[in-house]
């Protein structure tokens, strides 16, 4: 095998179990090196399934270990990792789950995966102090309506048509036996004000408000969107939530 080709041959054979062992490899004892090469196939596959199971433990618990491994292997073929930082692997996994036919009976599963991916991103996010009440009150009142905010690096919002937060919590905490009505829409706001990741179940109107602020809309625009989402929207309570959750990093007015 020419020197420049063995890596490509390894990669092809590792990713496709149906491929023959690359040429040019040998056992010191003679005989076929096939089972020896399988060690590498196995190491790569098993370690990546494990990495995904570590990132998506609730998804794994919901579908079961074996089915999760099948799902993970299909995902790895379609989306092999492009970075050695495996804690960043699997951002395409939630969308991939939506195409996984056996999971069609669990339409909430992709949103659970979105929450789990956001949770791990928050866990590793930069250490930045969230927006403080002092920073907000330092803004002149006449400038407040046009103020825009910067999302905190740990913050993410998953707006689900399903009870994603309740299902996430039940499976992350290992609860069983409780009845969950999956059809109740929930909005999960993931933040990390200090070292611990937090998941807040916030209302429709607060989700509309927070999504707008996190996207850089003005406070006025965010309040309009919040009020449009739900007539019970309470701006001062929403501002309180914005401060206590730590979803924003700074304000610019």
């Amino acid at each position: 095998m020419p020197e420049t080709e063995y890596e490509q041959a390894f990669r092809t054979a590792i990713h496709d179990p149906g491929t023959a062992t690359p040429a040019g490899l040998a056992s010191a004892f003679g005989g076929t090196p096939d089972k020896r090469f399988d060690v590498y196939r196995n190491n790569v596959t098993v370690s990546l399934v494990e990495a995904l199971a570590n990132t998506f433990p609730a998804v794994s618990r919901i579908v079961g270990e074996q089915r999760f491994a099948d799902l993970a292997r299909l995902f790895m073929s379609a989306h092999p990792p492009k970075s050695p930082l495996l804690f960043r692997y699997g951002h395409e996994f939630p969308a991939f789950i939506e195409t996984f036919e056996p999971a069609a009976t669990m339409p909430y599963l992709a949103d659970i995966a979105r929450l789990e991916r956001a949770w791990l991103d928050a866990y590793h996010a930069a250490d930045i102090a969230p927006l403080s009440p002092e920073a907000l009150s330092a803004i002149a009142p006449e400038k407040l309506p046009a103020a825009r905010f910067t999302r905190h690096p740990a913050a993410a919002l998953v707006r689900s048509q399903y009870a994603a937060v309740t299902i996430f919590n039940a499976n992350r905490q290992g609860q069983s036996g409780q009845r969950i009505n999956a059809a109740i829409a929930e909005n999960g706001l993931v933040t990390r004000p200090d070292i611990d990741v937090a998941l807040h179940d916030i209302s429709m109107s607060n989700a509309a408000f927070m999504a707008a602020l996190m996207n850089g809309d003005t406070l006025t625009r965010a309040a309009e969107l919040g009020a449009a989402a739900d007539e019970t929207f309470d701006l001062s309570a929403a501002i309180g939530l914005m401060l206590t959750t730590g979803a924003l990093a700074s304000v610019d007015a």
Partner: protein, 303 residues
């Protein structure tokens, strides 16, 4: 906290400059953070896989900073792909350099292996043929890595499961050439020596006899698993999931008897047990180091 860190760094006082001479250590696993924090006895060093600490912030860095305040650190890279055909990932090198600057490790190491082809990451330490072409490329990569991090690195001998027909160098000769050309040091993994020797029907003692021991700056010990190769031969797997095998302890004791104390790390990465189990493995290595230290001159350097 961040402002204190910035000030301390400017003054060059961020962490104590703990030496690792004569010490043993264990892999640091986040699940052991509380047990180690409460442990007043452990006086070894800790080793981390660099990639696990390449996130921006959060708990991993908080844990590691607290550990680094108390113990010497070994920064062990797993994914640089030094043995790869392609160029090293400059972003990865920059992240590695940041960790070296931030945590001031006593030891820095990587593997003679590859894991990235084109832009796809194959999460394993994959083997390479030992030829003059691969030798040049590995040396260029080590030069580049040492330049990027501003430090000498220790290169680890791999566990291998098969051989390349095109190889023209023995692994020990290949490593010796790398050391001569790049000035890097070596991390001698005694479990890898035993695993590879068994897998290739060779003698671990012969391998050690050929190994450029004077350049070894760290030793690794770890557990391995047993399989068969489908052709009636034992195939050992570098699994890091159990205690160090008796045969590996024997090799280690002979080695330390010949070379004197070399910082020694017990790796345990899968099926990780309670901290006290890792600690007792590290203590077993330390006992061998201490026993042999007496026969060597104080302060003798090995790498």
């Amino acid at each position: 906290m961040n402002s204190h860190v910035a000030i301390a760094k400017d003054q060059g006082l961020r962490f104590p400059a703990f030496p690792v001479d004569g010490l043993s250590g264990a892999s640091f696993k986040p699940e052991h953070f509380e047990a180690i924090s409460a442990d007043d006895e452990f006086s070894g060093f800790l080793e981390i896989h660099a990639e696990n600490y390449m996130g921006d912030g959060g708990a991993p860095h908080r844990f590691l900073s607290a550990m680094r305040e108390r113990f010497p650190l070994s920064l062990h890279g797993v994914c640089m792909s030094i043995g790869g055909l392609g160029d090293l990932d400059k972003e990865h090198l920059a992240r590695f350099a940041d960790l070296v600057r931030r945590y001031e490790p006593a030891l820095v190491s990587e593997h003679l292996a590859w894991s990235t082809h084109d832009d796809v990451f194959l999460n394993d330490l994959l083997p390479l043929p030992y030829t003059s072409e691969t030798l040049s490329r590995v040396c260029a990569h080590i030069d580049q890595a040492q330049e990027a991090i501003g430090r000498r690195i220790l290169l680890e001998n791999p566990s291998t499961y098969l051989l390349f027909e095109e190889s023209t160098y023995a692994e020990t000769d290949f490593l010796e050439e790398i050391v001569d050309r790049t000035g890097c040091g070596l991390l001698l993994d005694v479990n890898n020596v035993f695993v590879s020797a068994t897998n290739h029907g060779a003698s671990a003692m012969d391998y050690l006899a050929e190994f450029p021991l004077e350049h070894v700056g760290e030793i690794h010990l770890a557990g391995h698993a047993e399989q068969d190769d489908g052709e009636g031969h034992l195939l050992l797997i570098d699994s890091h999931d159990g205690q160090v095998a008796d045969a590996v302890w024997k090799l280690y004791e002979i080695l330390i008897g010949q070379c004197g104390p070399i910082p020694t790390l017990v790796e345990w990465d899968n099926d990780v047990p309670d901290w006290h189990v890792l600690k007792s493995e590290a203590a077993a290595a330390r006992a061998i180091l201490d026993r042999n230290a007496q026969t060597f001159l104080l302060g003798r350097r090995h790498a």
